[in-house]
Amino acid sequence: MSRFRAGKKRTLPPINTASLPDCIFLLLFFFMVTTHFRQTNIRIMVQTPRATEIKKLEKKSLVSYIYVGQPIPQLQAVYGTEPRIQLNDAFATTDDIRDFISSEREQMDEAEQKQMTVSLKIDQDATMGIVSDIKQELRKTSALKINYSAKRKGSGMK
């Protein structure tokens, strides 16, 4: 080895990687900031049904979520086991949907408001009565683009 080095005078100096962690940290912070876990405090249990003909939802910023399902076990003592609607962080009734939709609309650009999609994350054991009520309410507020949230059949991922 020493002979090898002696033979060749001009060796490339090693690249200084001391600043590599800084670069990575910069990237890391970028992703940390841009990743927004929209998982609001989930107060209900939702097991969405499975389907095969599903499509991906594009443009997350245009999607609002309405959750319907049984309250989580810790809250069942207070709220019972009947399926309930959750908007943002709190339980709601169908009357609150109107305000929820208009406040979600205000957060969007005017040009994009028409493309707003409401994703219905509804438990498969919920009954259609509550779903129909939500649909009627959405029609009244003319939020017509909806998405019945469903998972791909056969995949075990949650």
Partner: protein, 197 residues
């Protein structure tokens, strides 16, 4: 006392740790892609009195799920496995059965003059119907339409319908044309109370 120099902390593995965190956040950004069945609700009618134009009885394919999650197609109890076949038959109406949907000639790009079904699938449910069953039926109806589109595309272009890329301009035109030839006309009726509960 022996001279003891403070050794510098080896920061070589810092990059690795940062990488690990980085990959985590990279993954997290795409982890929960929401998937589902996209649908468009009908607009609320301005006036209650003003009803939509009459649709002939033969053009309406009534699919009803009652409160016990039983499936009825045109008032007959049907197993979910048979629904897809019935739907396809209703839309295509290959033998021009007078009980199934009518067709009207329409000019569509790429296809020329074609017969387009006037049929509308009316999906009705009870308040007591479970959401899981409802989506199962919705899925089955969508599957019927998608299979018909696939068959059409295989016949015409030798490719499946879902292989066309909507981001490509010409391919998107083809997608729109196919959608015109085989429309997905699913009407979600307002709930009716069928049977007690």
């Amino acid at each position: 006392m022996a001279r003891r120099e403070i050794q510098p902390i080896n920061a070589g593995s810092m990059a690795d740790i940062a990488f690990l965190l980085l990959t985590f956040f990279l993954m997290a950004t795409t982890m929960d892609v929401d998937t589902g069945l996209p649908r468009l609700l009908p607009a609320m009618p301005e006036d209650k009195e003003e009803e939509q134009s009459e649709i002939k009885e033969r053009n309406v394919f009534v699919v009803l799920i009652n409160k016990d999650d039983q499936l009825f197609v045109e008032t007959e109890v049907v197993d979910i496995s048979a629904l897809k076949g019935l739907t396809k038959k209703f839309i295509m109406n290959p033998d021009d059965d007078p009980a199934l949907s009518e067709k009207r000639p329409e000019y569509v790009e790429y296809f020329g003059e074609v017969m387009v079904s006037k049929g509308v699938i009316s999906l009705q449910n009870d308040i007591g119907t479970s959401y899981g069953k409802y989506i199962e039926v919705q899925n089955e109806l969508a599957l019927a339409v998608n299979e018909l589109r696939n068959e059409l595309c295989l016949q015409k272009f030798g490719r499946r319908f879902d292989n066309f890329n909507p981001l490509n301009e010409t391919e998107n035109e083809i997608i729109e044309a196919v959608k015109k030839v085989i429309p997905m006309a699913i009407s979600e009726a307002e709930p009716k109370k069928t049977g007690g509960n």
